[in-house]
Amino acid sequence: METLHLDLPSLQDDTLLPRVLLHGVVSSGNLEVLVEPGRDAARCIFEVQTAAHGFAEVWQAVLTDFAARHPVGGLSFSIHDAGATPAVVSLRLDQAFQSLRGS
């Protein structure tokens, strides 16, 4: 397993539901993401444990875009990845974010 840690700037949305949320499943080509409150309202923390080695740059790009796309400041996303493609990673993160919105 490879571990990655990212701390990225992002806007904050006060209306998000303050709760812990687990989305997705650790299975081949898929991942789970645990969303929790972070420390800094202007930053979003990502902890990634992945079975696919050597993709740090891709993760950086995917997560940077995600943090720019949605106001996820003040949140922490912990990911257990079992070889999801970037498309699946983005989709799961977007779904997790939408769930925080309560819709």
């Binding site: 891709v58 790009a61 995917v62 493609t85 970037p86 498309a87 989709l91 977007d94 779904q95």
Partner: protein, 552 residues
């Protein structure tokens, strides 16, 4: 006329044919050959260097005749030149490994792709060329006419008339070329019938037939279990339907074989219906009877389907829907690969399919290193028919987009590639250089095995968006349009963001949000069937899936 010159013989081939038939007669009773005599028959008939067509496509296979040919003595039968659609069976490869055959002209080698590559590298096989189906069929009448063909039929009667059943496939074109050029036609049949439901090949064109010990194998290649369709594929299907089918009003089309297009088929009666598209798109098809098309047929989307071959389990359903499918007077389907390929090339406004790799020119390939897969029919469907003359709304719109402000002299077929940006973590779909180039070098080919040429491709659909290549005005712009939908692949990350945003402003690139698609709606709940069982239910119990697809 100079009497001293020898008289030229004009029926040399017919005389040779008679000699061969005489050699074969001891092994037959009238035209029927006992299974145990087939090897002797072939050894008696065949001559070294003969061009032989061993029927088999990606569906039905003349498997008993193939095994019999492979069991012939290489002392008696050798150096054959095989001219056939598909290399699929282990016995096909044994022919070369045992020296019975030496030269090969073919189209597709899916399951034997790896073994074929090894034979090429060890120089145990000479490849003339790898064709598309239509090319190969064309050459049957020009310079690759078989001297002997070994075909598969459903049934024969006492005279040797043949009934081909729903899987007509390549048989008519093979027999036509062979029988009318003094060749020998040998058929394996599944059964003898006193009275055939219909005559597909008249006895006068058939020289021998054998009732095979087991029915010919048919692979259910076009059955896609909806269980395996992912949310990403649903999203891409939504984009294709809204951004291409609806936009161009695509009424006549062909689909590839993969899960991406199966998703589209299953979204037509749900998402397509909600967009009000029934009766406006996807009405006429050149397509095998895909089980995943059942809900769209039942919903009244699909009006007509002509097929290359049939599909195992779809027989009763097809027979019960004669308004949709082409069926004989007996009620069963009549397919025909040559005609359906022609229809796909000339009479359809769109081809949409998937691929394994695409480069920045839009060239795509399913070749991977160490495997020679060949082409099959996709390049016939997935190419603009420049000889086409009749107009349709979709064809004209695409033509206008390509020509810009120029005067329109011809339209343009829509050739759509729908791919996820990554197949799996180590396999990006978008690459700077196709593996096909390496394969060309390794195998000593004249050209890289490119499935769909980039200049034929009109649209690329990925989970990131749709790139409309018709609107690109330079190779550089085209490359950026492809990068702009290539996601996080190295190719995609090397995009010029400013250029890509400009392309998006111009509508060359469209994201899901640009199309008014909410990514959250892309769930499997949108599929009209989520399992094989749902398909059976949708068919009113008429579809009878093969046992490996059932979970009840």
């Amino acid at each position: 006329m100079n009497a001293s010159q020898p008289r030229r013989v004009w029926n040399h081939e017919a005389q040779r044919r008679q000699v061969r038939l005489l050699r074969g007669m001891p092994f037959a009773r009238d035209k029927e050959v006992a299974p145990g005599n087939v090897v002797s028959l072939l050894e008696a008939l065949l001559e070294p260097g003969d061009r032989v067509c061993l029927e088999g496509n990606n569906q039905k296979q003349a498997d008993f005749l193939s095994e019999s040919l492979a069991a012939c003595s290489p002392q008696r039968v050798h150096d054959l030149h095989l001219v056939q659609s598909v290399l699929a069976l282990p016995s096909h490869m044994e022919l070369f490994e045992r020296g019975i055959a030496r030269r090969l002209d073919f189209s597709f080698a899916g399951p034997q792709a790896h073994r074929l590559a090894r034979l090429v590298q060890s120089r145990s096989i000479e490849i003339g060329a790898i064709h598309t189906y239509l090319e190969l069929f064309g050459r049957y009448f020009i310079d690759l006419t078989p001297q002997v063909c070994l075909i598969a039929a459903q049934a024969a009667d006492a005279e040797g008339n043949l009934y081909l059943g729903p899987n007509t496939e390549d048989t008519p074109v093979i027999v036509e070329a062979t029988a009318f050029k003094s060749g020998i036609v040998i058929a394996q049949v599944n059964e003898r019938m006193a009275c055939l439901p219909r005559v597909d090949i008249p006895a006068g064109w058939v020289d021998f037939f054998v009732v095979a010990p087991t029915p010919n194998h048919i692979e259910p290649l076009f059955t896609r279990d909806p269980r395996h369709i992912t949310e990403i594929q649903v999203l891409m299907a939504m984009m294709a339907i809204k951004g291409i089918y609806a936009e161009y009003g695509v009424e006549r089309l062909n689909h590839g074989i993969g899960f991406d297009t199966a998703a589209i088929e299953l979204l037509l009666p749900t998402y397509g219906e909600s967009l009000g598209l029934k009766g406006k798109v996807a009405r006429h098809w050149a397509l095998n009877p895909h089980p995943t098309l059942i809900p769209a047929i039942e919903a009244g989307f699909v009006e007509r389907v002509h097929s290359f071959g049939s599909e195992v389990g779809m027989e009763a359903y097809v027979a019960a829907r004669p308004d949709v499918f082409f069926t004989g007077a007996d009620g069963s389907m009549r397919s025909n690969r040559a005609f359906c390929q022609t229809a796909g090339l000339y009479a359809c406004d769109m081809f949409i399919g998937s691929t394994l790799q695409m480069d920045l020119a839009g060239n795509s390939s399913t070749a991977t290193l160490g495997r020679i897969t060949g082409f099959g029919g996709a390049p016939n469907m997935g190419s603009d028919a420049r000889g086409r003359r009749h107009a349709s709304a979709a064809w004209l719109k695409a033509g206008r987009e390509r020509s810009g402000d120029g005067t329109l002299v011809r339209g343009q077929k829509l050739v759509v590639q729908t791919v996820e940006t990554w197949r799996e973590p180590n396999h990006p779909t978008f690459v700077e250089r196709l593996d096909a180039w390496q394969l060309m070098e390794d195998m000593g080919m004249d050209l890289p095995p490119i499935m769909i040429y980039g200049d034929d491709v009109s649209h690329v659909v990925t989970e990131e968006g749709i790139a409309n290549l018709l609107l690109c005005r330079s190779p550089e712009e085209r490359a950026q349009a492809i990068r702009g939908v290539a996601g996080y692949t190295p190719v995609g990350r090397a995009r010029d963001r400013a250029v890509v945003e400009n392309l998006r402003d111009r509508g060359v690139i469209r994201r899901p949000s640009d199309l008014g698609i909410d990514v959250r709606d892309a769930t499997r709940d949108l599929l009209a069937a989520r399992s094989i069982k749902d398909l059976v239910r949708a068919s009113g119990g008429l579809y009878q899936p093969p046992k490996q697809f059932r979970n009840w």
